[in-house]
């Protein structure tokens, strides 16, 4: 095997570990559905009925479905570093890093694993949206496109989480930092209100927020069908993902020292 196929094979193997774990125990997937369900069923329905925020011809619940989807994947990803800290504590990480598989392939595999969880999350939210009758475009290519974006997005923030884990090193601190950054990321994005409603300074901030690009891409594909920003969205997301993956591959050694 050449080095590229070894790299790919190891990454897929680490992701396979995660998929197998989900097969054995899917409780976490279901509990993680509670929060997005509340956003859609309570927040979405209420704001739809008062017609406080409208965007184009879409109802509010249509508008926030992509946002809620992205948010729930963000939660999975941003706390992924906790899993890595736990695996360090019990020795699984040491074991993985002592195999001949390149360190960066383990990181990519871990990030992909977060992507696997993200995809399950997306499927469940799609199902929920269908059940409560949110009108979305369900074109097969668009849905596949959403999955690609979701995987990249989960990889992006799970590697950021692994970077944080390699500096913070304990589960408690990771919980703290996760809580501290998710809400600001969420509110400083176009997830639950359009950028045009934000004060100018927040609009500027949101330009540097990868979540805005993710929500924009998902919204384009399953709601508006307006692909004009899609290339930019993909470029920004791809750039952040590669950057964080690279840094995480280097910083991971700090966590086992």
């Amino acid at each position: 095997m050449n080095s590229i196929s070894r790299f790919v094979s190891s990454s897929l193997t680490v992701a396979e570990m995660e998929a197998r774990k989900i097969r054995h125990d899917s409780t976490e997937l279901w509990t993680r559905l509670v929060q997005p369900a509340l956003w859609l069923l309570v927040f979405g329905e209420v704001f739809t009925s008062i017609r406080g925020i409208t965007q184009g011809n879409y109802t509010y619940i249509q508008f926030i479905t992509p946002g809620v989807l992205a948010q729930s994947v963000l939660f999975v990803a941003i706390f992924y570093g906790i899993t890595v800290v736990w695996e360090r504590d019990v020795g699984i990480l040491n074991k993985l890093l002592s195999t001949p598989s390149p360190r960066s392939s383990i990181i990519v595999g871990k990030a992909l694993a977060a992507g696997v969880r993200g995809v399950f999350q997306a499927i469940m939210i799609f199902a929920l949206a269908l059940i409560i009758g949110v009108n979305l475009r369900f074109d097969i290519l668009d849905v596949l496109g959403v999955f690609v974006v979701i995987v990249a997005f989960a990889m992006c923030f799970s590697s950021l989480s692994m970077i944080l884990a390699s500096f913070l090193k304990t589960r408690d601190r990771m919980m703290g930092i996760g809580q501290a950054i998710t809400m600001p990321l969420f509110f400083a994005s176009n997830a639950i209100y359009p950028l045009s409603l934000m004060p100018a300074w927040l609009q500027t901030v949101s330009l540097f927020n990868p979540l805005s690009y993710v929500v924009d891409a998902v919204r384009a594909m399953i709601l508006t069908g307006d692909y004009s920003n899609l290339a930019l969205d993909a470029a920004v997301l791809g750039g952040f993902t590669l950057l964080f993956l690279g840094v995480a591959s280097i910083s991971i050694r700090r966590i086992i020292e």
Binding site: M1, R6, S9, S10, T13, V14, E16, M17, R20, K21, H24, D25, V90, G91, I92, N94, K95, L96, L97, S98, T99, P100, S101, P102, R253, I256, E257
Partner: protein, 327 residues
């Protein structure tokens, strides 16, 4: 051929803890080599440096004549590692653990199934192969981890305290498996332990370590011979002076009323020792004769019993962690 060659290995932690303090050794192909010492002596740090998990402050490591730092991925292909903490993934089945591991070691697809099957059989886990590992006993988890070596076939297998926390019968089982890997699959084995019986039972050669340094190395028989005689443990009715007439034996250790005496011939020394203490007005409450063990070797070269060395190092660690939290 030399399987492991370590030269002048040093690891310091800030501010000035020398966890490993200039250690050099070589392990021959096919040997079972044991690193024996109390907790905190630096054994795990040495293994972690060899496995590339911790960067040495200085020194060099060669595995099968390959430099461990410049060709790390090649070197890791040659090594197997069973860490001290149970590292099998509890959320996967035994079979899945072996499967994932075989893939990360790039075991060829055609060999994968047969090796996994062999590993499960060897480690007597075939019946439990599809159960989640978190439902295994400690001994079964340990066997599964050793089974990973059957799958990946390393040239050198590193085991960090392989039988820690296991009951005596699981311990014996684990030892038998390690010996079999060494004999049948011709693996060089490097173990660390603080269990004298384990070192004695398994190892062809032993190095004793204390405070980050090697104290002495040799075969168990050589080391025991070097103690130079039999050990008598005497309990007295009261504290006695630490000296004995030279022709009876030498006091090597004394706490409260119990004294350890090293003597050339234990059997003939017993009546003379009793006589000596009775003359000084003390009663001998009990006496036991021990042929030299590795415990005595440790005692001779470090001047403390291994349990004492451990409680000292634990106290030191507790103090250090307390200071870290307070500071």
């Amino acid at each position: 051929m030399t399987a492991i060659e370590v030269t002048n290995l040093v690891k310091t932690y800030p501010p000035d803890v020398r966890a490993v303090d200039g250690v050099s050794f070589a392990v021959d192909d096919g040997e079972i080599f044991g690193l024996l010492g109390p907790n905190g002596a630096g054994k795990t740090t040495i293994i972690k440096m060899i496995m590339g998990l911790t960067k040495p402050t200085s020194g060099s490591i060669k595995i099968c004549n390959l430099d461990a730092f410049s060709s790390s991925s090649q070197v890791r292909q040659l090594m197997g590692y069973v860490p001290q903490a149970i590292s099998a993934d509890g959320d996967l089945t035994g079979y899945e653990n072996l499967l994932i591991f075989s893939k990360l070691f790039y075991v060829q697809k055609k060999d994968r199934d047969s090796r996994i099957k062999e590993a499960l059989q060897e480690m007597e886990l075939t019946e439990r192969a599809n159960d989640l590992v978190k439902h295994y006993s400690g001994g079964m988890m340990r066997r599964l981890e050793i089974g990973e070596a059957v799958v990946s076939r390393p040239r050198v297998l590193f085991l960090d305290e392989p039988s820690i926390g296991l009951d005596p019968s699981s311990k014996r089982q684990v030892w038998a498996h390690i010996k079999r890997l060494n004999k049948e699959l011709k693996m060089t084995v490097f173990i660390t332990t603080h269990d004298m019986a384990e070192a004695d039972e398994l190892c062809d050669r032993i190095a004793i370590m204390n405070h980050g340094r090697f104290v002495v190395a040799g075969t168990p028989a050589e080391l025991k011979r070097s103690v130079g005689g039999d050990m008598l443990s005497v309990k007295l009715s009261a504290q006695a002076g630490a000296s004995l007439p030279e022709d009876i034996g030498k006091v090597v250790h004394s706490t409260d009323g119990s004294i350890d005496i090293l003597t050339a011939n234990g059997e003939t020394a017993i009546p003379r020792i009793v006589g000596f203490y009775e003359q000084s007005g003390l009663h001998v409450l009990s006496m036991s004769l021990n042929k030299p063990s590795l415990d005595d070797v440790f005692l001779k070269y470090t001047k403390v019993r291994i349990e004492e060395a451990e409680s000292l190092s634990q106290a030191r660690q507790a103090r250090r962690s307390f200071m870290r939290h307070a500071g």
